[in-house]
Symmetry: C2
DNA sequence: GTCTATACAGGGATAGAC
DNA sequence: GTCTATCCCTGTATAGAC
């Protein structure tokens, strides 16, 4: 299948999403125009519509792909029998994964309100499934007497919020390494849920 | 000072900010037009410029007023000598204050990137001063041996992120009251910083 | 103080040439 | 597959009547 001269279908699609992710993370969905995205890619605005039906779908795909990859990576982790080990693993995974993808994470959290109702529901479902993985770890820990928690759902949200907060300030050139930060946060998460130690 | 017929200068200004706050919280700064804000207030678009020099200043004022009021309310709290009591008070205050002002809080966190550099610096300074209040409580607790923390700055950010996360899901009609939620979070915050109890 | 009218730039999206 | 050209709408902001 010889490629036609001037044809870049195989690479342009991903490049459109990459450019959109970069620009939307920096300026916000509503503030970024299709013309800007096209300029970043190096094509004309009209050409974008070969790779996405519209701007809304472009945003949705960015968020959907991010959430699906996050879920897949989380599901691929081994499952420690000890609840404390499981929580520490989750905390380290969550922080590491989020630090590595600041743009995708930022968009996933900030642009929810710019999704159409149907697209919002789809992303919300993925988010809920991810949250459920932590909820399961905490519930298991409570059942085994490893954790002391008045409310698993509350604690789930509190821990996720705490861990995700790292992305608001972490910089690779800062005084702390990724692993130092992750270790410190895992420790705080364990203590917050009353881990018996 | 008789008021002219059809003149509402004393009330229209605040109503403009209230409408802007409502709309920006719901749709985002970039997605809300001056026409929409004017329609919400019940005036014509051009009339808004009697109350704000431009859209940017309107956003900045919303955020500045929110942060100044937050700082003032926090500063008005009594200062318990016991670090544990101080942290519990801070946690309860933070959650209560934020639950009561979901729109202002949402804007203060989500629209930072839409501020001009100078305005951003001003808001960031206010935010830093607020964060410093918690940092002081934690540092004092470490000095007195009440808390066990490897890094006060890290813990400050972690606790703030955890507490602020409540605004993402709390609804007044939910199964838990404000006070139940605040108590539970205050407990988790205390445990996260290794409070000796 | 509020209105209408308008200037002017830029938005998303499409049509049709190449 | 990409381009140019264009449609039509909406954006911020201002001018001048009342």
């Amino acid at each position: 299948m010889a490629r036609k001269a001037g044809s870049h279908a195989e690479t342009t699609g991903p490049r459109v999403r990459a450019a959109a992710q970069r620009l939307i993370a920096r300026h916000g969905y509503a503030a970024v125009s299709m013309r800007q995205i096209a300029a970043e890619v190096g094509v004309q605005a009209g050409a974008l519509y070969l790779y996405t039906p519209d701007k809304q779908t472009l945003l949705f795909d960015l968020m959907r792909i991010h959430m699906e990859e996050l879920l897949a990576a989380c599901a691929a982790l081994p499952a420690p029998a000890d609840p404390c080990a499981a929580l520490e693993q989750f905390a380290r995974f969550h922080i590491g994964y989020h630090i590595d993808r600041p743009e995708a994470v930022f968009i996933a959290y900030m642009e929810l309100r710019n999704l159409s109702p149907e697209n919002f529901a789809a992303i919300e479902d993925l988010r809920r499934r991810y949250e459920q993985r932590l909820a399961t770890i905490l519930a298991e820990g409570v059942a085994q007497g490893s954790f002391a928690l008045p409310d698993v759902r509350l604690a789930t949200r509190a821990v996720i919020a705490m861990l995700t907060g790292v992305t608001n300030w972490f910089r690779d050139m800062g005084p702390l390494t990724r692993d130092e930060v992750a270790a410190c946060y895992a420790d705080m998460a364990l203590r917050a849920v009353g881990a018996a130690r």
